[in-house]
């Protein structure tokens, strides 16, 4: 017999970035309410940018998020560069790619080890984990340190980058720093292999729900910066047409806007990139995917973290090869490419740790007069709610505590970055 009433009410979900609530209400086995409320305070970045000099945009918008600071800075710079007719040098392109890998590695390691792993190991956080399994936590900290130091030598720090500017960089890594980094990246393979082994053993929930996955795509590389927008439902769009894909709408229970494309919702992030861009993964990343039994198209949302682990392998390998390329070329202290005009409009897109990010600026005589930022977590919200609605009826035989925990794990799997998306998360079962 169905339980008369089952409610889940998680106020300010933990181990996610920002503030969200999960609210579920089941009456006589029927799902009455199932929402992810975004209660983060509105941030108003688009309004803050208006009237500011174009040079400030990347510095202001990196402050949207402490975790994806490099991603926001990169998307911001690309938007400004396209608006003002700047084509960065080959060296800038390589340094930005390498720097970006530092952020993906840092963010994915943080999520896989410190935010998600405690759920599987039956602890509330990484702190008891540090006592129960110190080698696991020390491994995560070692890898994070390498990723952070990578960003440090290129842009000064990961949160918030300093040396990234319109048209290039204001500081350059020394050959000795790149050589030392290369050695540490190569040595990091052992810890990354152990991460793949850990995630091939964790009991990740097998819940499935088919959806549309969207990511940036390039034919010749696993794409994080620029490219085109591509969907697993078919279709490619130039990034300038992002509004045709995102279709933002405002809903009352969320200070972050919702989006939909060809279905009622779509997903972005590591799993989306894996599904869209599997062919472009490094061979070692494909081997890691096989070890975790991942083959596109994966429609298991809890496996987003496993897809992040695949990307950890990919980004490490690509970072090693980029470092080699840069060392071979030799780093030149070059001036940033000057702007070609002072007015224009541009869209910058990057696939940041949590998915596809768009920055769109209109610049008039060197000042930003219009700005729009579309954030990965915002794009995932409608899809998370659709997953919640599909998942709840299948687990109603479990205790309320277990259902709550499962819902928290589901939301956490998306690695939501809520302060980003409001330009939010809390699980509330009512």
């Amino acid at each position: 017999m169905a339980v008369e009433r089952m409610t889940v009410d998680v106020h300010h979900l933990t181990r996610v970035e920002g503030h969200g609530n999960i609210v579920v209400d089941v009456v006589n086995g029927e799902l009455k309410q199932c929402e992810l409320e975004i209660v983060e305070t509105p941030r108003f970045f688009e309004a803050m940018l208006r009237g500011r000099p174009y040079e400030e945009s990347s510095h202001i918008t990196s402050r949207i998020c402490g975790i994806c600071a490099v991603g926001h800075a990169t998307a911001s710079l690309r938007a400004t560069e396209k608006a003002l007719g700047v084509n960065p040098s080959p060296q800038t392109v390589l340094l930005r790619k390498l720097n970006f890998h530092g952020e993906i590695l840092d963010s994915h390691i943080l999520h896989a080890y410190m935010l998600v792993a405690p759920d599987f190991l039956g602890v509330g956080s990484v702190i008891p984990l540090a006592k129960a399994a110190p080698e696991v936590v020390l491994r995560a900290l070692r890898m994070k340190q390498v990723a952070g130091d990578l960003c440090k030598i290129i842009c000064g720090r990961h949160t918030h980058p300093i040396a990234m500017t319109v048209g290039g960089f204001t500081h350059f890594p020394l050959t000795s720093e790149l050589e030392a980094l290369h050695k540490r990246l190569v040595a990091m393979r052992t810890d990354v292999d152990a991460t793949v082994e850990l995630y091939s053993q964790l009991p990740i929930p097998a819940f499935e729900r088919d959806t549309e996955y969207i990511a940036l795509h390039k034919d010749d590389e696993y794409c994080f910066i620029d490219g085109v927008i591509k969907s697993t439902d078919g279709g490619e769009w130039p990034i300038e047409d992002y509004r045709k894909v995102t279709n933002e709408s405002i809903v009352k229970h969320s200070s972050a806007k919702h989006t939909h494309n060809q279905r009622d919702s779509y997903a972005v992030g590591a799993l989306a990139r894996f599904n869209v861009n599997y062919d472009q993964l490094h061979a070692r990343a494909k081997t890691a995917a096989a070890a975790m039994k991942l083959k596109p198209k994966v429609i298991k949302p809890f496996y987003n973290t496993a897809a992040q682990v695949v990307e950890i392998v990919h980004c490490l390998e690509d970072a090693i090869s980029l470092t080699e390329q840069i060392l071979k070329m030799g780093v030149r202290a070059e001036e940033p490419v000057p702007i070609a005009r002072r007015s224009g409009e541009g869209v910058g897109a990057c696939d940041v740790p949590r998915g596809t990010l768009f920055h769109n600026y209109v610049i008039d005589k060197g000042r930003v007069v219009g700005a729009n930022c579309i954030i990965p977590t915002g794009q995932n919200l409608a899809n998370i709610e659709a997953d919640m609605r599909a998942l709840v009826p299948t687990i109603l035989d479990k205790s309320q505590a277990d259902i709550t925990h499962m819902m928290e794990m589901l939301v956490r799997a998306y690695d939501p970055c809520i302060s980003c998306s409001t330009h939010l998360l809390n699980v509330k079962f009512e």
């Binding site: 688009e46 402490g66 405002i250």
Partner: protein, 253 residues
């Protein structure tokens, strides 16, 4: 030592990017021993356990809505020591940039005719609402300064944050002056203690650590004019992190 005897600390966040708390996590990479000398009872971004019996509260983020005031006052009532963590809590940070425009316009620009659904008002540092005992400045905070501040607090004294201008630290770092490199810099009026990290990486100081006690703003403006900056550009430079402080100074005058 049993955990009951360790000082209990908690982390809270208001309007911010949570980058300062991430920097706290990063600090633990280099200083894991910190975990042996305190008990963290609340840190929502990193842990599910939640305790309300904290003695030291680290607060990140600005107060930007009426609801924040209530929570801040609860934290103040519980904690013996409240520490503002980073520029958003300390200065209003970049959140205060929006205070330069009428609030209604800002809300409508982002949320259109649904603007009324989301509660907000002027962005302020937390000291506008509660008494703050100590500040760890910066956007983000400097991890070494955070470790030092915790060590000072555990010794029963307030963190020793420099109140001399950044230029002093920058000279000691042997950086080439940003003005020599043709770039604008707020070093002369900004509080030191970050290791002059922005000039070291080729960018002028943006003032994220706040004004020194007696800043000579007019003199710096003159220098910026002499370097060819327009009044508009100077105003922008001075308001990335300093909007709130600067507006307060102007009100006093």
């Amino acid at each position: 030592m049993t955990t009951q005897t360790l000082p209990r600390i908690a982390f809270f966040e208001f309007t911010s990017c949570e980058g300062c708390q991430l920097t706290v996590v990063d600090t633990l990479q280099a200083h894991p021993e910190l975990l042996n000398v305190v008990e963290i009872v609340q840190f929502r971004e990193a842990m599910s356990e939640r305790g309300e019996d904290y003695q030291i509260a680290f607060v990140e983020g600005s107060c930007t809505r009426p609801h924040d005031e209530t929570r801040l006052k609860e934290i103040r009532q519980q904690a013996k020591i409240v520490v503002a963590l980073g520029a958003c809590a300390h200065l209003g940070g970049i959140n205060a940039i929006r205070n330069r425009q009428p609030l209604e316009e800002v809300r409508q620009y982002v949320y259109g005719d649904k603007a009324d659904w989301f509660d907000t008002y002027v962005a302020r540092p937390i000291e506008a609402v509660i008494t703050v005992d100590a500040v760890i400045p910066g956007c983000p905070i400097d991890r070494n300064e955070f470790a030092m501040a915790v060590s000072h607090l555990l010794q029963g004294r307030m963190p020793n944050i420099p109140d001399y201008p950044l230029c002093i630290e920058c000279k000691l770092m042997e950086n080439v002056c940003m003005f020599q490199r043709g770039k604008a810099c707020l070093g002369p009026i900004t509080r030191s203690g970050c290791g002059a990290i922005c000039p070291a990486y080729g960018d002028g100081c943006e003032g994220c650590r706040g004004l020194i006690p007696k800043p000579n703003i007019e003199s710096l403006k003159q220098v910026l004019r002499e370097h060819g900056m327009s009044e508009e550009e100077i105003d922008a430079k001075m308001t990335m992190f300093l909007t709130y402080q600067k507006m307060r100074l102007e009100e006093k005058r």
